[in-house]
Symmetry: C2
Subunit: 333 residues, 2 copies
């Protein structure tokens, strides 16, 4: 049987486990052009909160009763396409389920000997590419820039600071709690970390970014971002990747108006989605993999076990329970 | 004697005439490198509200007792520089006074036969250049784009919509009251106008910009801008020129958080100042002048008379009392 998680109800505010339902269905049979994949790891990511809200956005929402969308990595166990064979490891959008029959067009072959399978939904997958494109193609960095990243200990943010280092920048991460802050400065080599739960972010930036912030990579939004804006330098760039602090909001969030800062500092801000840059994926992934091999790009994972833990892993991730990439392990590949 | 207006007190909220003081001083004598200029027209502009607030910004504030800063146009009546002679007409930062002794470096020669003198502090001066650069260099336009401009009947906004037309775009102006709206659609040829005082801007945009907004040129900020954001198209650009609705705010303004829109629509927003593009002024002014001559770029002025009316003209302009460029006439050239 195939165990899978479907949307039971549209969450109001913070999602609860009752918004999700685990169900059992027969293992599906691939049609022409599809593979049957046994999933090893599935990804839970902040963007999924938008997808289950029903709110108009850049992609169609998940409907009630549908399998929750998301990237996963696993092994082909049957194929009706000449592009993949049984035994191949693949990554793609397979949703929260133990078995899936994605179209071959939506799969990327991955090498289980080059990196652990789970890395292909993390540092060598969408989150890593998001960090790469947001920093290098959206914001743009110059050696000596100070790069500040919110959500600094998450899958995206932890890569942002390290790529900033590769490019000769000062890396400042904002994260929640001393454990995350210690990890990004100790293990990952960030130049400074700010614990937004224990520190005044604006005050802390005075010492963490003494020359101001040239690039702000925003995963979080809300009060953290409000505190960063006054520290932005003239001609600074803001790459707006996520606003996780706002995703569970019930009423339309309000906060300080920020547009005046744009004029005074000639700030350029740009929102982006990772798939806007899809044509560059091969080059970007090769470069990211080289930095992983050289030790310049480290990562960690928070691993939940079993499809039955997907909802709680997702809910926890929205609240910042994870360090590094949150994945759910379903099977050994 | 030289009558001039100095800052008497830092305004709190909406400025009052008591914040300004008219004083008489002897007509100044130019030093080497300076001219003595009799001012014909002085400019009152929104940015001056920031300059007298004492708030940290992109330029030093006007101190109590100092002459209010601002551009003016007039005639040289004595010169201690070989760059200008008595009789020349010049434009530059001369402040709110009848006579000034600016350094020749800060003056631009203007031709009183090519355009009325007052145009050089309007459509052929800083406001016109602001429209030109904001639309063409900051936002960037393509034929067929819908360009929406707030403050659409002001000195900058009225030029924005007409330049948009020159470039093959649909021009939508947001302005206060039927008179301004009628002027920009009737006289200037905007495709649509929205009266923010009498209409729901968001609702009105559904018909004024049926294909959404590709470029938003923001002079105003606040609730008008809040209403435009949901109508921005994917890959739209926002040129942030001014936030006049917020300039008299006493408490830090709050409003709906806008950054989520940036991600969903991949919006790029950039704040700018006209002097960031100074190297292009000659080319831009020549092009603007050609459009004025061809009748593609029209303008109007609201003229106050006499230095004693400068403060009230400025206060009125902040509240939207002007149509087109607000100037103060001090003398015939």
């Amino acid at each position: 049987m195939n165990r899978r998680v479907v949307l039971a109800a549209r969450p109001v505010g913070v999602p609860t486990e009752a918004d999700f339902r685990l169900e059992e269905k027969p293992i599906p049979t691939p049609d022409d052009g599809e593979c049957l994949v046994q999933v090893s790891y599935l990804s839970v990511d902040p963007y999924m909160r938008g997808r289950i809200s029903g709110r108009k956005s850049y992609a169609a929402p998940v409907e009630i009763g549908q399998v929750i969308v998301g990237a996963a990595v696993g092994r082909v166990i049957a194929s009706k396409t000449d592009r993949f064979s049984a035994g191949d490891c693949v990554m793609g959008g397979m949703g929260w389920q133990e078995y899936a029959t994605p179209s071959a067009d939506l799969l990327r072959r991955v090498d289980p000997d080059a990196a652990p399978l789970s890395a292909y939904i993390g540092v060598l997958g969408m989150p890593g590419l998001t960090a790469y494109y947001g920093l290098l193609k959206v914001a743009g960095v110059n050696p000596g820039d100070t790069v500040c990243v919110s959500g600094g200990a998450g899958a995206v943010g932890s890569a942002v600071g390290q790529i900033a280092h590769v490019k000769g920048c000062r890396a400042v991460g904002i994260a929640g709690g001393p454990k995350k802050c210690g990890w990004i400065t100790g293990e990952l080599g960030f130049d400074a970390a700010i614990d937004y739960k224990g520190e005044d972010v604006g005050e802390a930036l005075k010492t963490a970014a003494p020359d101001g912030v040239d690039v702000y990579f925003d995963n979080v939004g809300g009060p953290v971002t409000d505190a960063v804006f006054p520290h932005l330098n003239v001609r600074s760039r803001v790459a707006i990747c996520g606003q996780i602090s706002q995703y569970n909001a019930i009423d339309a969030p309000v906060g300080p108006r920020l547009l005046w800062h744009f004029i005074v500092k000639r700030i350029r801000a740009q929102g982006f989605l990772v798939f806007d840059f899809r044509e560059h994926d091969d080059v970007a992934l090769a470069e990211m993999a080289s930095w992983v091999r050289s030790g310049q790009l480290k990562y960690t994972e928070t691993v939940a076990e079993g499809i039955e833990s997907a909802a709680s892993a997702f809910i926890g991730m929205l609240g910042g329970a994870n360090i590094g990439k949150q994945v759910v392990k379903l099977s050994d590949a």
